[in-house]
Amino acid sequence: MNMRRYVATLPALALGATLSLGSALANPYEKYAGETIVVSWPALSHYQNAETLVEEFMEETGIEVEIDALQYLKLRDSQLLEMSKDEGEYDVVVWVVMWKGEYVSKGLLTPLSQFYTSGSLVDPEYDIDDIADAYLQNGGVVGGKKGYLPGKSGALYGIPFGAETSILAYRKDIFEEQGLEPPATYDELRAAMAKLGEAGIPAMTSRGATGHQVTAGWLLHLAPLGGKIFDDQWNPVINSPEAVEAATVMREITQTGPNGIPSYGFSEASAAFLQGDAAMYLDTLKIAAMSRDPKLSKIDGKVGFALHPTGSRCGSETGGFAMGIPANSLKQEAAFLFIQYMTNKAGDQRMVDLGGDPIRISTLTNPENIAKFPEYPVVAEQLPCADADWRPLIPEWNELNLDVLGQALTKVITTDDPIQPIMDEANEQARAIMERAGYYAWANYRQ
């Protein structure tokens, strides 16, 4: 064998190698085809509708997806247990935005920046700026100002999926009968509730079950009436005049609403409206898609949508869910591809067609969608008013939510006791919790 022939084959080999390398990366999903990822998300209608899109993902990419759906408040227990192990079963977790602080402070999630540095994983047409800022900041960014607000110290841990803000839904037919206009302010709202009460029509449905539910109901009124949970030094202000007014509104709603509000969770409260037992619904915009679902609703076609009423300011809720990747997952790249697929422009539009909720401005302002979904212009108008500080998404929030506010507000809506002392006591308990968690260490140090 002579050297020349050997050397002559080298360029051919090199060319062949480069060509084959090039074709190996032609399909971004190829490397992960055949893997199985497990997704943990809530058993709500948006996600049930998403299952069709998941099947399309499986067909297109060859990545298998197993879904573990639970009632949304029970998700946290199983996600925490799974993510605390050395190697976890969940590859994608969907969290309620109020848990993001806890998950990140315990180091349970992988920051998405790790994946955004990869040239092969990131879809150049994804356009992350198109995702509604309120949703992205609220659900996915953690560690900013005060730990949960947007800010330079924050990092992206999740993409919103099933995120929401609040709007007012009302029965056009009942309002017409009673000669009412959809209320734009809280004064108008309370007047409408009184008028409906007199006419014997249950006015507004609301969540009211002890714990997270009743607090969520109250928070809807706290922001627009000008209240907050903490001031800038983390002092709790749950007993401020605005907070007491919001609690009074909760009491009025319970007294003029459908029977059973103190036992209503999210499903029961929505069911009351969807089955025709209440004239108004002031909560997540998900009610719009739900009102068109024949399996859930008897009132399709009779529902009008309006902005969340304003008090001293406009302030609708920021909430819902975001999707991210546990740090102990073994299939993080496939998980990232899944998240990207479900939330890119095509995915968002498909979710809307399947009866879910959009996260992108382009989807909300698309004229075809607006023709089909009358609430979209309302949502698009509402989003700039979505209050990022609607609720403090700190790790201690769970304890405050369940033990302090959840108990105090139950007393507010099930008794006629004066509200100020109830809120004063709650404020003291909140302060004790914050003290124990160390939030006043700097203030005490600097004194």
Binding site: L81, M83, E102, T210, P258, N259, S263, N398, L402, Q407
Partner: protein
């Protein structure tokens, strides 16, 4: 060399009984003693779920001191005691009454017996779900049928006293069959000579029951009572599903309170401390009942 007194040669067969119960003891250690010791150990730490245990700070008796002054813990214990009192009294009365009615071989007795045992066969989670929807304020059957009697629909699971009544009712429905089975078995094992003798002596129906039959099944009743008492402190699923402990804390039994502390508010160390308290309470109660009436020691019954 002084003569040592003759000792009996060691009889190896004396070890056999211990050998036979050794597996059971091992299982008991693994399944009972070890977790209890672990709970006591955990109660000295402040461990948040999700963080590694190695980072949990040692806090000594802080969890216990906090627990003693925590009004929520004591309210929960009080709810558990009230719950136990109402359910056990009514269950025993109903269970014994039904057993007395159905012990005779009257026609159809076996059918009734089968029907009455059914609630015990249903999974507690299913029981809780069914009763939750029966009690639902808007769509529940109970309100629907009460409407025919002219009673306004009640918010069963949203009112503190009504919710308590709801869980008591559910528990009675579910566990009366338990007392029923045990008592019926006991009654059927009673020697008929004693009853015949009492009848010959002129005892009427009332006296036969309270002065002859019931005293003879006393040890069985004590066992049933003990088991129900321990169950009351164990009960979790039904409350969790029906009310989650609400409204307020009106249906939050101690076990549910511990669950909420551990998982809802992430305080595993504190929850362990309360668990230790629960073990102590149950232990003391069992001890009290057993000293008053130890079924193992009495010789005068079946």
């Amino acid at each position: 060399m002084a003569d040592a007194p003759e000792k009996e040669p060691f009889d190896r067969s004396r070890l056999t009984p211990y050998l036979f119960i050794a597996p059971a003891i091992l299982v008991m250690f693994g399944g009972l003693v070890f977790p209890v010791l672990d709970a006591v150990y955990l109660s000295f730490f402040d461990w948040e779920i999700g963080r590694k245990f190695s980072t949990a700070p040692f806090v000594g008796f802080e969890n216990f001191t906090r627990m003693i002054v925590d009004p929520n813990v004591w309210e929960s214990i009080w709810v558990t005691i009230r719950f136990g009192f109402w359910t056990i009294t009514i269950e025993v009365v109903l269970g014994v009454g039904l057993a007395l009615m159905l012990e005779k071989p009257i026609r159809g007795a076996s059918i009734f017996r089968t029907i009455f045992i059914l609630p015990l066969m249903v999974s507690p989670v299913v029981v809780a779900l069914i009763w939750r929807y029966l009690f639902d304020a808007r769509v529940g059957w109970i309100n629907y049928y009460l409407g025919y009697l002219g009673i306004e629909p009640q918010v069963w699971l949203g009112d503190p006293s009504l919710a308590f009544f709801a869980i008591v009712l559910t528990d009675i429905w579910q566990w009366t069959p338990f007392i029923f089975i045990i008592v019926i078995a006991g009654l059927q094992a009673l020697p008929s000579e004693v009853l015949e003798a009492s009848r010959i002596d002129g005892a009427n129906w009332w006296q036969q029951i309270f002065l002859v039959k019931l005293p003879m099944i006393k040890s069985i009743l004590v066992i049933a009572l003990l088991m129900r008492l321990i169950d009351v402190f164990r009960a979790l699923e039904v409350m969790y599903i029906m009310t989650g402990g609400g409204p307020g804390r009106s249906t939050e039994l101690l076990s549910l309170h511990i669950y909420n502390r551990a998982f809802a508010t992430q305080q595993l160390g504190y929850a362990s401390a309360i668990s230790v308290l629960l073990i102590v309470i149950v232990f003391l109660l069992s001890l009290a009942i057993l000293t008053l009436n130890n079924p193992m020691r009495s010789k005068s019954d079946v």
